[in-house]
Amino acid sequence: MFDTELSPTQRARLALEDFYADYVACLDEDRLEDWPDFFTEDASYVLYPRENEDGGYPIALFSCENKRQLQDRITSHRKANIFPAHWNRHVISSLRVTALGGDQVETTSNYAIFQTRQDGESKLFQVGQARDKIVRDNSGLKFQSRHIVYDTSRVQTLFVTPI
């Protein structure tokens, strides 16, 4: 019924599944200081509400244009920002490899983030789609860009922890 030979795209997806699992573990285990290391030095990371994406409006909820800005977000998260204590749980699915070049791969994937606050209730915090560009450097795969479009336009209370 199935071809036993793996296509290049399928082999790429296997490696990418591991990469995304490591990324999610870093965030869900609150190792936020390690999060910027999943990105290249000049990576871009931007979250758009779908109504802006669809309407052609450029304002983003959260945007970083290099790795240092990702690190600043984490410093602010740890030292400055005040927010309800919470635990995020990512579920990433429907990973597709949309372009496979020699040194870059492009993917799309769906995500859902369930958030649990101190009262012990878990709520759906955000769902959306990520469109990523991933490259390989000496230490492994890295995001060159994450362009995330979220459907859940109403941000509940606030958004502080990266996804």
Partner: protein, 413 residues
């Protein structure tokens, strides 16, 4: 039958110095606010003109909790309640779009963009059956229309046909500050939405509360951005006292943070610096170099300039314990590419994930959760009372006291 007037038993502090928590939690008070404030003697912000670049563009929004549609026609802007006059169904089911007619899907009643009724299916009956009674005249009917006026690119509406002009409502103290920001044609950059489980007034108070700025929003202190040595201007409109402006003006380049060291503010940490300070790079755009311009126009608008970010924050109450906050970002048509990019980068400062604004809804939720069970208690608003220099102080609560005095008046409490 003995019907208690909502709020009749409320006791406010003298001169707005204390607010009974019930005004944040009680459904009857909330309903009275919808009647006396949102559908009463106020002008509510609806949209920026820049959201309607083309004729027949429209947008759905709210005034208070009443759904309202704003349209642009060759005659100007119109606003009507989004509720078919036939059975009450919502007529417009889209957020934004472009349309020359609006048709209710339920029985296909048809309306013009200005709200006039244009078509009733089977109005004259079909075959042997009769339609609407004789004498029924479509021209006598329309969607409930609001009065619409614009000021410097901002669109407002009121339910009250007797209401004074928008310009008079904004008043001579507030208009120069609106003029400062709305000084040339603007371009709409999109919106961000934040939802809080707290009463809308807690947020409207928050933008009148300069005291919390450097104490709740620790980004400033942590990264050494705002210093208490900046000069401050805070004032209200002189008639109702419910609009306000707080501005911080940079008057020197002393960046050693000494005021914070002296006062032992807990978050001060000399070692913490931004790795990429690009977000703080600011271009001076106005004669007066101000880092923060926060202007509350009662009941639904907060006009803000923080560094180079410009936004209209729209407050939409969703019941006594919830509100939605919509940040409408804009720039100027004449912005060069660099300035446009700076506005997008600096958008990280404000909005639901804003470095210097995200905490506001956490604070309002902390209040709401704690006051719900004990409505007989009151808040305390004494900071700066009797201080003749309150207009130059970030820590004075004088504009909050002014707000609560105006609130009692408009609510008849």
């Amino acid at each position: 039958m003995n019907v208690m007037t909502p709020g009749a038993s409320l006791v406010f502090g003298e001169d707005g110095t204390a607010t009974p928590y019930e005004v944040y939690t009680d459904k009857a008070i909330y309903d009275l606010e919808q009647e006396r404030i949102y559908r009463g003697k106020t002008w509510s912000f609806l949209a920026l003109e820049a959201e309607f670049p083309n004729e027949h563009d429209f947008k759905s929004t709210f005034i208070g909790d009443t759904p309202v549609v704003v349209t642009r026609t060759p005659e100007g802007y119109h606003a009507w309640v989004n509720r078919c006059i036939h059975k009450g169904a919502a007529v417009c089911r889209q957020h934004r779009g472009n349309a020359r007619k609006f048709q209710c899907v339920y029985h296909q009643w048809l309306y013009a963009p200005n709200g006039d009724l244009k078509g009733v299916p089977f109005e004259k009956g079909a075959g042997e059956t009769k339609g609407m009674p004789e004498g029924f005249d479509k021209k006598q009917y329309s969607l409930p229309k609001l009065r619409v006026e614009t000021y410097k690119g901002l669109i407002f509406a009121t339910f009250d046909p007797e209401m004074e002009s928008l310009e008079a409502y904004l008043g001579p103290q507030m208009r120069p500050y609106i003029d400062r920001i709305m000084c040339k044609p603007v371009t709409y950059l999109g919106c961000l939405r934040q939802y809080a489980k707290s009463n809308w007034k807690l947020y409207f108070e928050n933008v009148k509360d300069g005291y919390h700025a450097s104490l709740l929003h620790l980004f400033h202190n942590t990264f050494n951005i705002l210093r208490v040595s900046m000069s401050v201007r805070s004032l209200t409109d002189e008639r109702n006292g419910m609009h306000s402006i707080i501005m911080t003006v940079r008057d020197n380049d002393d960046d050693d943070g000494s005021d914070y060291k002296k006062n032992n503010v807990a978050s001060f940490d000399e070692k913490v610096r931004l790795k990429d300070p690009e977000i703080l790079r600011m271009r001076q755009e106005y004669k007066e170099l101000s880092t923060n311009h926060i202007q509350g126009i009662f009941p639904s608008l907060v006009l803000q300039q923080i560094h180079n970010t410009l936004a209209c924050r729209q407050i939409l109450p969703k019941g006594p314990g919830e509100f939605e906050l919509v940040f409408h970002f804009f720039g100027y048509e004449e912005d060069d590419e660099e300035l446009r990019q700076m506005r997008l980068t600096q958008a990280n400062l404000v909005g639901p994930a804003g470095y210097v604004s995200m905490e506001d809804t956490e604070a309002t939720e902390l209040v709401q959760a704690a006051i719900e069970p004990d409505r007989a208690e009151k808040s305390m608003l004494l900071m700066g009372q009797g201080d003749p220099l309150h207009g130059q102080s970030l820590t004075s609560e004088h504009i909050l006291r002014s707000f609560w005095q105006g609130y009692q008046k408009i609510m008849g409490l």
